[in-house]
Each structure stands twice: as structure tokens, then as C-alpha cells.
């Protein structure tokens, strides 16, 4: 049960190994790695800066992780979210959920990712050949997170 918000990169393989090290009750480990795309719609993106609300971010991430733990039988979980300036291909976020039950691991991981993408206090600024701009919130993302409110596991 770990939450980290950091500017530094992370090593997915090492994080996964550490998460399940010495645990033999884990049948499935589902993970999501989000990386910086070089396109936003049709627009090329040359870099992205993620701003966040220090303090509130960690608090909300810990709370949503606790909610996932209450809803699904989770053996271990991890959320790492980067902030600062990132280039295309860079890691942004890693969410991993280990469970004895693969369905629970998939659902809890997707729940956490949908939440992170829509509710966590992060703001994205994109650099493009045409200039910099703050990214607008997307309705499709809100819908992805909201479906969990109506759907008990």
C-alpha cells in the first residue's frame, strides 16, 4: 500500500518485483503504465508539464487507494505519479494491484487509473510547435470514473 508523487523517473520492473517480493499468495498482478504521447488529437506534442497540488495530491491518492482496498480483495498495491516537465515516451504514472483473484486485480487497477485521470489534482500543460497551452478537461474521462460510483464490485 504505497503512494509516491515524485519528479524522478521510476523503474517499472524493479517496482513490480519489490511489490510482490516474498509474497506467494498473489496469483495475479495487474499494472498500468502511462507514458507521454507525442500526439494530442492531431497535434504533435514536444513536451508536457504536469503541475499538481502538493499535499492534497498525496492525501487524495492515499484515500482512493484505501477505497480500492475496501472494495476489492487486494494483497498489495502501488501508485507512483510523476510531476514536472516530461518528454514523449517518458513514464508518467504506474498503478499496480496484486490479488489472489485476477478479476479483482483488473477491476481495482482500472478503478484507480480512471480516478487518477479524472479526480487527482494534476494539470497538464502541453508544448506544441504552435505554442504552449493548458489541456482542457475531457468529458469522456469523467464518465469513465463515474461508472464506478454506480457499480459495486
Amino acid at each position: 500500500m504505497t503512494v509516491r508523487v515524485q519528479a524522478e523517473d521510476f523503474d517499472m520492473g524493479a517496482e513490480m518485483a519489490a511489490l510482490v517480493a516474498g509474497r506467494h499468495d498473489v496469483g495475479g498482478l495487474v499494472s498500468f503504465l502511462g507514458t507521454v504521447r507525442d500526439l494530442a488529437g492531431e497535434m504533435p506534442v514536444t513536451a508536457m508539464t504536469l503541475e499538481h497540488y502538493p499535499g492534497m495530491t498525496e492525501k487524495m491518492l492515499a484515500r482512493i487507494e484505501a477505497e480500492a482496498l475496501a472494495r476489492w480483495p487486494i494483497a498489495a498495491s502501488l501508485i507512483i505519479h510523476r510531476h514536472g516537465r516530461l518528454l514523449p515516451g517518458d513514464n508518467i504514472v504506474l498503478v499496480a494491484v496484486a490479488s489472489a483473484h485476477r478479476q479483482a486485480a483488473f477491476e481495482a487497477c482500472q478503478f484507480l487509473v480512471d480516478w487518477l485521470k479524472t479526480k487527482a489534482p494534476f494539470w497538464k500543460r502541453e508544448e506544441t510547435p504552435g505554442g504552449d497551452h493548458w489541456v482542457e478537461a475531457r468529458e469522456a474521462d469523467d464518465e469513465a470514473a463515474d461508472r464506478w460510483a454506480a457499480c459495486a464490485p
Binding site: G34, L50, E51, Y53, G55, M56, K59, M60, H81, R82, I92, V93, L116, K117, T118, K119, A120, P121, F122, W123, K124, R125, W134, V135, E136, A137, R138, D141
Partner: protein, 86 residues
Amino acid sequence: MPAMRLLYFAWLRSRIGVAEEEVTPPPEVRDVATLLAWMRGRGPAYAAALADERAVKVAVNQEFARAGDPVAPGDEVALFPPVTGG
């Protein structure tokens, strides 16, 4: 009476021109709605940045808050656009 700490993020920070400030609102500022109304009167940059209510989200002491939620001296109040995730 302790001051209220205001934090601004993303384009709200750029438009207002500072990342944070301490303010002492008058006693009639008791909730998020009256705070925003008072802030719009602080100058054209505030009026412009806070004009569109739907585009301004508020957190009081690091919890999302709505128009009717209370604010008080000593609170940390953050103003920001809708979040755009990771």
C-alpha cells in the same frame, strides 16, 4: 485573527499572476460563493480569471468544496481549473 491562505494552480495561477497569497476577507465572506464574489472585486485580473464559475474549482483545506461550503480565517483555500489527470 489568522489570515486565509489562497493557492492558485494551472491557468488560474498564470492569469492571477501569483502562486499563493494571504488575505483577510471581510466578515461577510463565510462560504465559497461569497469568497469568490469578494475576490472578483479585488481587481480586473481576479474578475477575469474567476469570471466563468464552471471553470473554477475550489478546495478548502485540501478537500474539494462547493459554493455553499464554509470558509474561515486560517483555512487553506485552493482555486484551480478542472483537473486534467496524468
